[in-house]
């Protein structure tokens, strides 16, 4: 039995027809990324944790204190939660300087004006913006505004730090620098951190653990290695760039649709089989030779994908294949063309569903 997590929440909330039902546990010093497509309920979960959206059931316990217990009519207003939020478009108060924005939290939580400003100055120095203390938000660049927003949220020394798409509003170049710096600050934060994002790269770089939500439910969670190696939904598979199929396994054979794939792993019962697009080889005629998974397919689309071309194939199973431009030219790939697809058993991975 390990120590109880700092955050223990079962978030049940409704927003119109949308229903959220998600369990979240985050330990002290742990950074969890809540990842999911648009409209999956990520922002609703974040707002519920911050007290900006009421829970209809479930519970929210932070550091052993029940903040929300709808069944016992316990509810804590946002201003009395030890929670800091970095909003997607930062929401820095436009009429206050960077320093006063950061001092706002400490001041509201009981520090006198001088102490609050001193603390704010310390945080601005820590994010490297000591020189911009007197600037108004409109005088700050996107990256600087993001860092002020982070300093403002951290200045209240929150037990739970929430970040809503913290890098989404930045251009690509600023994003790279800011992501690296954000990683440093999140690593130093002693409390629990929840990062809401739809960008898998942000999640992989910044988080210790991923929680993936779709349609208001947690569909998969685990560390980056597990999630990327063994996706459990089409969304996760697309995110990590794998072909994913669900079928029935009997030892080394997994039956998917009308096709039986041979895999290196041994599984029985309902199972997933996953393989990268680069493992799919295309041939103009049926290839012979070593034992392979081979099936006839039809090209439905071809797009650029990095230096290669990604080919969408229809057939007994729908898969994506990556081929080099040279190979594509050799095959003369175009939509509607019949090809043979082949995948080595050693390049597939099978695991229980």
């Amino acid at each position: 039995m390990t120590a109880p997590p700092l955050l223990d929440a079962h978030l049940v909330a409704d927003r119109g027809a949308f229903h959220l039902d998600a369990r979240l546990r985050i330990g002290a010093g742990e950074v969890v990324a809540l990842l999911g497509p648009n409209g999956a309920g990520k922002t609703t979960a974040l707002r519920a944790l911050a007290g900006l959206h009421p829970l209809s059931a479930g519970h929210l316990t932070l550091d052993g204190v029940d903040l929300d217990r709808p069944d016992r009519r316990v509810w804590t207003p946002p201003e009395r939660r030890p929670v800091g939020v970095v909003f997607q478009d930062y929401l820095l108060f436009p009429h206050l300087s960077a320093l006063d924005n950061v001092a706002f939290g400490p001041r509201r939580r009981g520090a006198d004006r001088r102490a609050a400003r001193a603390r704010a100055r310390g945080w601005l120095d820590r994010v490297g913006l000591g020189g911009q203390a007197r600037h108004k938000p409109r005088q700050l660049s996107g990256g600087q505004a993001q860092r002020v927003a982070l300093a403002r949220a951290l200045a209240v020394e929150p037990t739970l730090l929430l970040l809503d798409e913290p890098l989404a509003a930045l251009d690509a170049r600023t994003r790279l620098d800011t992501r690296a710096e954000l990683q440093r600050h999140l690593g130093a934060h002693p409390g629990a951190t929840l990062l809401v994002t739809h960008d898998p790269l942000d999640a992989l770089v910044l988080a210790d653990r991923l929680v993936i939500v779709e349609q208001g439910r947690v569909v998969q969670e685990g560390d980056a290695a597990t999630v990327t190696a063994r996706p459990r939904t089409d969304y996760v598979a697309r995110l990590v760039g794998l072909n994913l199929h669900r079928g029935h396994a009997d030892g080394h054979a997994v039956t998917v649709g009308g096709l039986t794939l041979t895999t290196a792993d041994t599984v029985r019962g309902d199972a997933f089989v996953a393989f990268p697009p680069a493992a799919v080889a295309l041939h103009p005629t049926r290839p012979d030779g070593s034992p392979r998974n081979v099936w006839p397919a039809t090209v439905t689309g071809v797009q650029r994908h990095g230096d290669n071309l990604r080919v969408q194939l229809a057939g007994p199973v729908a898969v994506a294949a990556d081929v080099t431009p040279a190979a594509a030219a050799h095959l003369g790939l175009r939509p509607g063309q019949p090809v043979w697809a082949a995948v080595k058993a050693a390049e597939t991975r099978a695991y229980p569903a």
Partner: protein
Amino acid sequence: MTRPARRRQRVPLPLLLPAGLGLLFLVLPLAGLLVRTPWTTLPRRLAQPGVLTALRLSLETATAATLLCVALGVPLAWLLARVEFPGRRLVRALVTVPLVLPPVVGGVALLLVFGRRGLLGSWLDATFGVTLPFTTAGVVLAEAFVAMPFLVIAVEGALRGADARYEEAAATLGAGRWTTFTRVTLPLVAPGVAAGAVLCWARALGEFGATITFAGNYPGRTQTMPLAVYLALETDVQAAIVLSLVLLTVSVAILAGLRDRWVGVT
């Protein structure tokens, strides 16, 4: 001018004609005022004691009425914009009633409530010895009654236009609703409050009907500029023109000054 050449825009005649007539209609009476002003006797007439007294009373009461409207109207606008409560639409409609009510009727209504034998007036008189009708305070009350909707509507519009998520951000930083209102909401809508206060002040300055009904027409006590103009018109048209010119000059000067300094570009 080095402005880049723009395609000459043709204004259709059916729009240009009424637009020109409308402008003429608004400007012509003002021009008439200037044309008929007795410029030669102007300095002597301005020096008459009654003019300055009425002007000062007008400015003082309009300013006091505006302060009263801001103190009561801003919280009312906040309530209408930010708090869901049953009957909110009805309250919003009630707030705008003084806009459509003839000011004289407003004055009569004020007399029925705050008059010596009125619903509240008799109690005020008996308990505190306070009498409002036919006093300077009564002028302020009448002006505030007529002018408050302008402020409430302007501030409510500003509040609805302001991003309420700033208030959520303030809450997550530990600010309660009152602190959020004073530290975040009010600074964000300050231009809207200023614009509303200017409108409110202008309306109060020109107030006539409710004032003469509720506060009467006593020089030095309740006789504001519009009342003085009306009274002068009965006896001395030249004096009425001079008073009108003074009121016009002062109000235009103050509004122009405030517009540049407070309201900004709108």
